[in-house]
């Protein structure tokens, strides 16, 4: 009976023991997994950015209604398409079922000979030299809570035709740019003339009637055929591709082009010209299947069209280039029906597909570049679905020099957002990494000597009683919130350093000299052995005195040697610009923040060098200093190295100090008097406002991942070195 209850209790205890084991094991493992999750989650956010795009054909049918397709358009979501036919119709159709929604006849007096479009603005050039502009719109309404789009046409130049070429020749190419009050139309005629006209447009408020008035007209005749023309949005350039691989760049003003032109030669025939979003980049499609990107770049006072980069897939001639409406991407089609999606800035080839197997002549993107509609020479319409969310990022974009629109040369630039839609985000991590290293470097420059020399004294020379208070008081500074240090750096030290710059540099010189002088003077003191180990305490008032002297000498030094103001002197004589919140301030305060880290680990390493080694060396007649340099330091050097690495790791990841003590400008300038922007500070500034799962967001997560890996690897190395050291000592 008693045995039984004892047995029962024993079993219960064993069960409890086992349960506890499972509980602790599962708990422990899940905590470790949770920690690992950080790494994997960061990776999970970053990885999709580097995947390529996907394109599928979702449907195909022969073009609804008759006639040949001259131009294609897509509504924002890709549900309704529009085709402009050679019969002078605009046909709106459901892209999924090909059923016709609206068929509008323009009742044109002559056949259409050319078409061009600028987003939803389509311009038709006729064989009699006249022009019509049409804009297609989709009205959104919710009858019975169902999203319904109703297509509609507008005539921004009025319903009447506008005569462009007075001699009545057929217009073979056409281009248009339209703003509220100015219209620019360029066209080529069948007798190889290039015509540019500029109109003033006025819309009456009451009747909405439109009056168009000619402002200027210029013409230029060519010997050869003109294959393609484009007009920039600001009406300042007209580009024309001439047979024989020539590109003409006409500079425009109110008066037209007045022969103000530059000619460029290409190896191959130019088949298509197209402007990227924003109009700063000219895409040149060629007969050999190559697409080149050219930009107008400032050079020797003027501006010159410059080759930037190219895209090339095969040797088939480019038949159509469709540019995205909200990004700098584009699709290229050729005579064989190959469609390839590129992104200009990152120079990436994102996806490619061929389902037509015949010449593709028209393409159009939906506004968010999720659908691509295509028509081919067999009058088939194809709708493609495109998943292409992160084309802007590539290895080169992140780490290389990229030639961005509006810049004179390739450069490393971080500029993640701007006010306009046409802006291309610039995601170079180089300036940020550079800033991170720069800040850490200046911090280490200040922290390493003080921390290590201090650790040497504390570990080997300091009186034990003093060490007991000194070590914890320095270590406690490690816990000092960096936001306080940052605040002091930004609002107290930065203005102070600015006015006492000469004093700061004097201090660098005065302190070591002062210490040596003290040592020499101390040699004359009687009874000095009482104070052995307390030298540091004796030097505290000396340090304070020297700081006070240097700071009060600051103004006199500046007025004697530097014409009263060191900052202006530096900027005038040496070309050094001074930023109030600069690397010097960051170095001082962040150095202060990492001193405890380095000091603590280095001191541990130095202190744990076995005492019999030290005593042996002293007994053999070496001085205290000789023992230090030739016995203690070599023995502890791995520990000191790991201390420095730990300190560096901390400086790299420090956020608040840099955020508050620098101007956060992402420049690449090693000058100690300039600010910087670090990876960590950049995260603190930009992550809260980045759109979730956008490219910007993912790039920021990449920055976090880099910081994570960098510090993790650094600390691991330091830790391994430390453990090795510990083992070595235990052997001694």
């Amino acid at each position: 009976m008693k045995d039984q209850s004892l047995q029962k209790r024993y079993n219960q205890r064993a069960l409890k023991d086992r349960l506890a084991r499972y509980f602790v094991a599962s708990g422990g493992i899940s905590v470790i997994v949770a920690i690992l999750l950080i790494f994997f989650y960061l990776l999970y956010v970053v990885v999709p950015m580097f995947g390529s795009a996907e394109i599928h054909e979702s449907t195909t049918y022969s073009a609804p209604a008759e006639g040949k397709t001259l131009h294609l358009g897509l509504e924002e979501q890709g549900t309704i398409g529009v085709r402009f036919t050679d019969k002078g119709h605009a046909i709106f159709f459901d892209t999924a079922t090909a059923s016709i929604i609206l068929d509008e006849d323009f009742d044109l007096p002559a056949p259409i000979s050319s078409v061009a479009a600028n987003l939803d603005l389509v311009v038709l050039g006729l064989t009699d030299g006249s022009v019509m502009a049409i804009r297609y719109k989709f009205d959104l309404s919710y009858p019975d809570d169902i999203r319904t789009l109703t297509p509609r046409l507008e005539y921004p130049l009025g319903k009447d035709l506008l005569t462009l070429d007075e001699s009545g020749e057929a217009l073979t190419n056409i281009a248009i740019q339209l703003s509220d009050d100015i219209v620019g139309i360029a066209a080529t005629t069948s007798d190889n003339r290039l015509v540019f006209t500029r109109y003033l447009r006025e819309q009456s408020f009451i009747s909405e009637d439109i009056t168009i008035e000619l402002e200027s007209r210029s013409e230029q005749a060519f010997e050869h055929e003109i294959s393609s023309i484009v007009l920039t949005p600001g009406l300042d350039h007209l580009y024309a591709a001439i047979a024989g691989g020539k590109l003409e760049d006409f500079s425009l003003d109110d008066e037209g082009f007045e022969n103000n032109r530059t000619e460029y030669h290409f190896e191959h025939e130019i088949t298509r010209l197209k402007l990227l979003l924003g109009g700063s980049s000219l895409m040149v499609g060629m007969a050999n299947g190559e697409v080149q990107q050219w930009m107008s770049v400032r050079k020797d006072g003027g501006r010159e069209l410059t080759y930037i980069r190219n895209f090339h897939k095969n040797s088939e001639a480019v038949t159509s280039i469709a540019t995205e409406q909200q990004r700098k991407g584009f699709a290229v089609a050729d005579t064989q029906g190959d469609i390839t999606i590129y992104y200009s800035t990152s120079q990436r080839t994102l996806a490619s597909i061929n389902t037509a197997d015949t010449l593709v002549d028209q393409m159009a993107w939906s506004a968010r570049a999720q659908n691509l509609i295509v028509s081919d020479s067999n009058n088939q319409i194809r709708l493609y679905e495109v998943h292409n969310e992160y084309p802007e990022v590539s290895w080169d974009v992140l780490w290389g020099k990229i030639w961005y629109e509006g810049y004179d040369e390739p450069d490393y630039i971080w500029q993640s957002s701007a006010s306009t839609n046409e802006f291309e985000p610039k995601y170079s991590l180089m300036p940020l990494s550079f800033g991170t290293i720069k800040a850490a470097f200046y911090a280490m420059l200040f922290a390493v000597p003080i921390a290590i020399l201090g650790a040497m004294f504390t570990a080997q020379f300091m009186a034990p009683r003093m060490r007991q208070t000194v070590k914890p008081s320095i270590e406690i500074m490690e816990a000092l919130p960096t936001v306080i240090l940052g605040f002091l750096a930004g609002l107290w030290l930065a203005p102070y350093v600015e006015t006492h710059l000469a004093g700061i540099f004097t201090l660098l010189l005065v302190l070591p000299v002062g210490f040596i002088l003290c040592a020499w003077l101390w040699g004359f003191m009687p009874n000095k052995s009482i104070f052995e180990g307390w030298e540091a305490a004796l030097l505290i008032p000396v340090v304070m005195l020297l700081i006070w002297i240097s700071m009060s000498l600051s103004a006199p030094i500046e007025s004697i040697f530097f014409e009263g103001d060191l900052r202006t002197y530096m900027s005038n004589e040496w070309g050094l610009n001074y930023d109030q919140r600069n690397a010097l301030v960051v170095g001082l305060i962040m150095g202060f923040a990492v001193i405890p880290t380095i000091f603590s680990i280095a001191e541990d390493a130095l202190f744990s060098v076995p005492q019999h080694l030290v005593r042996g060396s002293l007994a053999l007649g070496a001085t205290r200093w000789q023992t230090m340099t030739s016995v203690v330091l070599p023995a502890a050097s791995p520990g000191i190295f790991s201390a420095v690495m730990m300190g560096f790791g901390r400086a790299v990841g420090e956020t608040m100090i840099v955020l508050m003590a620098t101007g956060n400008t992402p420049l690449m300038d090693m000058s100690i008097f300039q600010g910087m922007r670090t990876l960590a500070a950049n995260l603190a500034v930009e992550v809260p406002e980045a759109e979730v799962f956008s490219t910007h967001y993912r790039v920021l997560f990449l920055a976090a991942l880099i910081l994570f890996l960098f510090t993790f690897v650094f600390n691991t190395l330091a830790e391994i070195i430390r453990q090795r050291l510990r083992q070595r000592y235990s052997g001694l």
Partner: protein, 559 residues
């Protein structure tokens, strides 16, 4: 100059002996110590002097053409070379040598345009500290400096001259009482009603979403709403009466340019006559201002008033974090030290955990925002709070995610400290317990963990100290510059984990760098910094002490 070879040789020998280099080392540690204590003293001095009711001086300037009186508190004074001052008004322009200049706080921002100005020691006829100078701390526009003339109730004169101060003090007390009552009504009682109304709205929407909104339920909701509405109206009426009451009194005072201005009592927070106060009086006043600094809400875009919500937010967040981090940290440490088979894998994990303490805190913030807020919070919202959509409940930065992120951040600290404590417990104790027949978990629970508890405490204190000072990750996962309500209040469910909160560290960043009037707010930032430093240094000292005592204890056991 010809040096005697003897001296040169001596110098070389002296350098060779290494004495100067040892002194250089000593110098390095002296610099570090000066920096550490200098910084602490700087914060202490600047932070604490803010609350002292400094004397106010009247400066009388006069030259041939005009005269000027300035009433102000001296903030700092310095000697500057006269030539650098040419072209600055009121310097006379012909001064030579060095002159003294003062940065003074003149207050009266509404009249003068700014709080501070420079004064120079030129044409200064007289400086004195008139006893009657009065300083007012106002709800808007910062401090007011001037002479009290008379007290009015509406348009009737109540007191003037010598009795004015007495009358004013009594009436100010009444005004403050009314103000507190209004504040209570508006924030607590009306706030509670608004909160209940919002909950009713959400419940109705939830019922609609679930298709369970019967007429009966709708009627019930409407009835409740009606009830609340009545309560609301009653409270509103009461506040209206109080607002009339509080506007009753005003004072008239002369400012430094001689003009008389009217100040309604409703706008005054505190009033004092520093030049009349004795030292004990001042000390009392100092304690009082210090107390109101830590117990009151901020005003004027955080640049004035107190920091109570920030203290409250910091403490609450840290407590939640401690509740989260302790069990997990201890379990992980016990697993690593007591249960897991010691091998290469565990060693790697141990190093990894150790190194996570060195991963930049901002990385934890980024992770917290991505994983906790957007992923977990977004899913929680979709599952449990569909009625609040599209407004996020947990899918936005808030208190819970902040505590969780910081718990993750401080987990390595607790694990490492606990492991260290566990490893210091002598084998003999464990073996003794096991030998007496206790199971492993019994040994752990009765012997090992109690003995390791100081180590666990150490870890926890260090974790709390680190969490209290951490700002960067919180900027991403839940801190705001001004939270409309505290995360803990009288409304069910009392603790609002989804709310955003204020934090001392972020307060420092925000007021110091984002506020419109940095100059005037600076002393406040120093005071806040000082408070934070005191909290953190105390926590750390406690931890260090605890650790030392623990070591002593086990050293005794070992022998």
């Amino acid at each position: 100059m010809i040096q005697q070879p003897g001296i040169s040789k001596k110098a070389t020998a002296w350098f060779k002996s290494g004495t100067p280099w040892i002194w250089m080392n000593a110098g390095a540690i002296a610099i570090a110590l000066v920096a550490v204590f200098g910084l602490l003293l700087l914060i202490l001095f600047r932070g604490m002097s803010h609350f002292w009711p400094a004397n106010v001086e009247a400066f009388y300037y006069e030259n041939d053409s005009n005269s000027l009186t300035v009433i102000a508190e001296i903030v700092e004074s310095e000697i500057v070379p006269a030539e650098s001052l040419h072209g600055i008004a009121n310097t006379g322009g012909d001064a030579e040598g060095n002159i003294e200049r003062y940065l003074v706080k003149t207050g009266n921002r509404d009249i003068l345009g700014s709080d501070f100005r420079w004064l120079y020691d030129i044409d200064l006829v007289k400086r004195e500290q008139p006893e009657e100078i009065m300083v007012l701390e106002r709800i808007e526009w910062g401090n007011f400096y001037g002479y009290l003339n008379s007290v009015y109730e509406g348009d009737t004169l109540v007191a003037s001259g010598a009795e004015a101060w007495q009358e004013f003090s009594e009436r100010l007390r009444r005004t403050i009482d009314i103000r507190e009552r209004i504040l209570h009504l508006e924030q607590v009682e009306i706030g509670a009603i608004n909160y209940k109304l919002e909950r009713l709205r959400l419940r109705e929407k939830r019922l609609q979403l679930d298709d369970e909104l019967s007429d009966e339920a709708a009627g019930e909701l409407a009835e409740k709403r009606e009830e609340l509405k009545l309560e609301y109206d009653a409270l509103l009426k009461e506040t209206r009466v109080l607002y009339q009451d509080i506007n009753r009194d005003s004072i008239r005072a002369t400012v430094m340019d001689g003009s008389e201005v009217t100040v309604p009592l409703e706008k005054i927070v505190k009033a004092w006559q520093p030049n009349k106060m004795s030292i004990p009086n001042k000390l009392g006043f100092y304690a009082y201002t210090l107390w109101s600094f830590v117990s009151e809400d901020p005003r004027e875009a955080n640049t004035e008033g107190g920091i109570f919500p920030a203290i409250f937010g910091t403490v609450l967040m840290v407590i939640l974090m401690a509740i989260l981090v302790t069990p997990f940290g201890v379990i992980a440490a016990v697993y690593l030290r007591e249960y897991a088979r010691q091998g290469v894998l565990i060693r790697i994990i141990r190093i990894a955990v150790n190194n996570l303490a060195g991963v930049p805190s901002i990385v934890y913030g980024v992770f917290g925002l991505g994983f906790f807020v957007y992923f977990l919070g977004g899913n929680i919202d979709a599952l449990f709070y569909p009625e609040a959509q599209p407004a996020p409940t947990f899918g936005t930065p808030g208190l819970m995610w902040s505590s969780l992120t910081l718990a993750l951040l401080t987990l390595p600290v607790v694990i490492v400290a606990t492991e260290e404590g566990l490893s210091r417990i002598p084998r003999s104790l464990r073996e003794g317990s096991l030998g007496l027949g206790a199971t492993k978990v019994e040994t752990l629970w009765r012997v090992v963990l109690p003995m390791a508890s100081p180590a666990i405490m150490t870890g926890l204190i260090l974790a709390v100290a680190r969490a209290a000072g951490e700002v960067a990750p919180l900027m991403l996962v839940g801190v705001v510059k001004l939270a409309p309500s505290l995360p803990l209040d009288g409304n069910f469910p009392f603790l609002h984990l989804d709310r955003k909160f204020m934090h001392l560290g972020f307060h420092i960043y925000d007021v110091g760098f984002q506020s419109p009037n940095v100059e005037a707010a600076r002393p406040l930032v120093y005071a806040t910094s000082f408070l934070l430093v005191v909290v953190i240094v105390t926590l750390n000292l406690t931890a260090i002490n605890l650790r030392n005592r623990l070591r002593e204890k086990y050293r005794a056991l070992d022998n």
